[in-house]
């Protein structure tokens, strides 16, 4: 049901990525003597922002506050869903783009190190070249894009670090940011089932009791009766009926 946590566990840039298809209010409390924020988001855009009970007036101020949240090392957050119609605010800022254009002076590697992917995880590109990145990230993206898109097995931070002669952690940081922006994604070595493959089980409504209901097979995925997997499934289902 809830979407909650601490910015020390899930940095702001990742929380924002999670909200790209949701609408509602994100409350962030940076600490007892520090600022308290409410961010109203709909369709990946920041529609309104309140800081310590007073509304943030314009895009420039909002951007400044977002930089503060971006670099925050900790702070609890909780997201409440609201209908998009109720979220008509004074702002309309695409969050993901702001985050990517932010170039901060602080120690980003130190801030995000714990969240980096394993240096051996292989990544692929999910989008063509993207223009609105901060200059250093953009430079990395230009130089590395061909590896992400051309190599079927993808490319890892370890490989990029030696190909581009940058430090491993720098490569991991760039990958982390590009990933949060949805420009790259990890490779899944197993081939995907055909696109027309139906979800095998309906996703469980958030209010549903524990797990029961995950396993109603969709009629479209009716298995071959002679196969091994259908036999195993039959036997498993027999155990709970």
């Amino acid at each position: 049901m809830s979407l909650f946590g601490n910015l020390s566990d899930l940095p702001f840039v990742e929380v924002v990525a999670l909200l790209s298809r949701k609408s509602g209010a994100l409350e962030i409390s940076l600490g007892p003597f520090r600022s308290h924020y409410q961010l109203y988001v709909a369709d990946g855009s920041l529609r309104g922002m309140v800081r310590d009970h007073s509304p943030v007036e314009d895009a420039l101020q909002a951007r400044e506050e977002i930089v503060k949240l971006f670099v925050a090392q900790s702070g609890s957050f909780e997201f409440t869903k609201l209908s998009p119609e109720s979220l008509v605010g004074n702002l309309d800022l695409p969050l993901q783009r702001i985050l990517l254009s932010i170039s901060t002076m602080h120690d980003e590697i130190g801030a995000f190190r714990e969240h980096f992917a394993d240096p051996r995880t292989q990544f692929r590109a999910t989008q063509a070249l993207e223009e609105s990145l901060d200059p250093t990230l953009s430079d990395f993206w230009q130089r590395s894009h061909k590896y992400f898109s051309d190599l079927p097995s993808g490319i890892s931070a370890q490989q990029l670090s030696s190909l581009l002669r940058i430090s491993l952690e720098q490569a991991q940081l760039y990958l982390y940011k590009l990933r949060a922006a949805g420009l790259v994604a990890p490779i899944r070595a197993v081939e995907q089932p055909p696109k027309n493959h139906q979800p095998l089980a309906p996703s469980i409504p958030a209010s549903a009791p524990v797990a029961v209901g995950v396993a109603q097979p969709s009629p479209k995925s009716k298995p071959r009766s002679d196969g091994l997997i259908p036999r195993l499934l039959q036997a498993l289902k027999g155990k709970i009926l």
Partner: protein, 206 residues
């Protein structure tokens, strides 16, 4: 041993055991999951934990359990959770039919590690997988949909469960096998060869 399955008697003639792997961070419920499904006594490798990880014992090599479905033996391997045991993830996933990655839904602090484990394994080893969000008996937990969003996975690949309840674990296994079945129907995945001792690709890459 399981009375229904004698590996020695069936050597060379009976069905080759299939291997399923359970991975995830410390305390996600991997050992509970294997215990809740195994029909034989689980061989564990618990050792005293010296770090403060919220429990006394931790798995250092593997948990091993078995079950037999319609005459087909299934081997269940649980992996150690800490990053320092990453070599075991690869060892255990070699030739696996499927992978369940478990993560505790009430501990967002462990999500980044869970994602790191999953991506490390699945970007290098060709294995169908699902993510199970455990501890759904607690009032404040992340939904499987939100966890799916965090992992960048379709919602159908992420399920909720309570790993201490065997019916809940069985539902999760059903879900995984349905996914494996879908891969096989798509004919991009060679089914009967996915048993033990037949490593797929992905090892030793730099």
């Amino acid at each position: 041993m399981n009375p229904l399955y004698d590996p020695i008697a069936s050597f060379g003639t009976g069905p080759k055991p299939l291997k399923l792997v359970v991975a995830g961070p410390v305390g996600a419920g991997k050992t509970s999951f294997v215990r809740s499904l195994s029909e034989t006594e689980v061989v564990g490798t618990d050792e005293l934990a010296t770090e403060d990880i919220g429990k006394t014992f931790t798995t250092v090599a593997m948990d091993f359990g078995t079950l037999v479905l319609d005459g087909q033996p299934i081997f269940l391997f649980g992996t150690p959770g800490q990053d320092r045991f990453d070599f075991m993830w690869e060892v255990l996933c070699e030739g696996a039919l499927g992978l369940v990655l478990l993560v505790a839904g009430d501990k967002p602090s462990e999500f980044s590690q869970a994602r790191r484990i999953l991506e490390f394994i699945t970007s290098r080893i060709s294995v169908p997988f699902i993510v199970g969000v455990t501890r759904q008996d607690l009032p404040k937990v992340w939904s499987s949909e939100d966890v799916a969003e965090y992992f960048g996975l379709p919602t159908a690949q992420v399920v909720s469960l309570n790993a201490t309840r065997s019916t809940s674990s069985i539902f999760t296994l059903i879900h995984l096998l349905e996914l494996v079945g879908a891969y096989q129907l798509s004919e991009s995945f060679v089914s009967s060869d996915a048993g033990l001792a037949e490593p797929q690709n992905g090892f030793g890459q730099q």
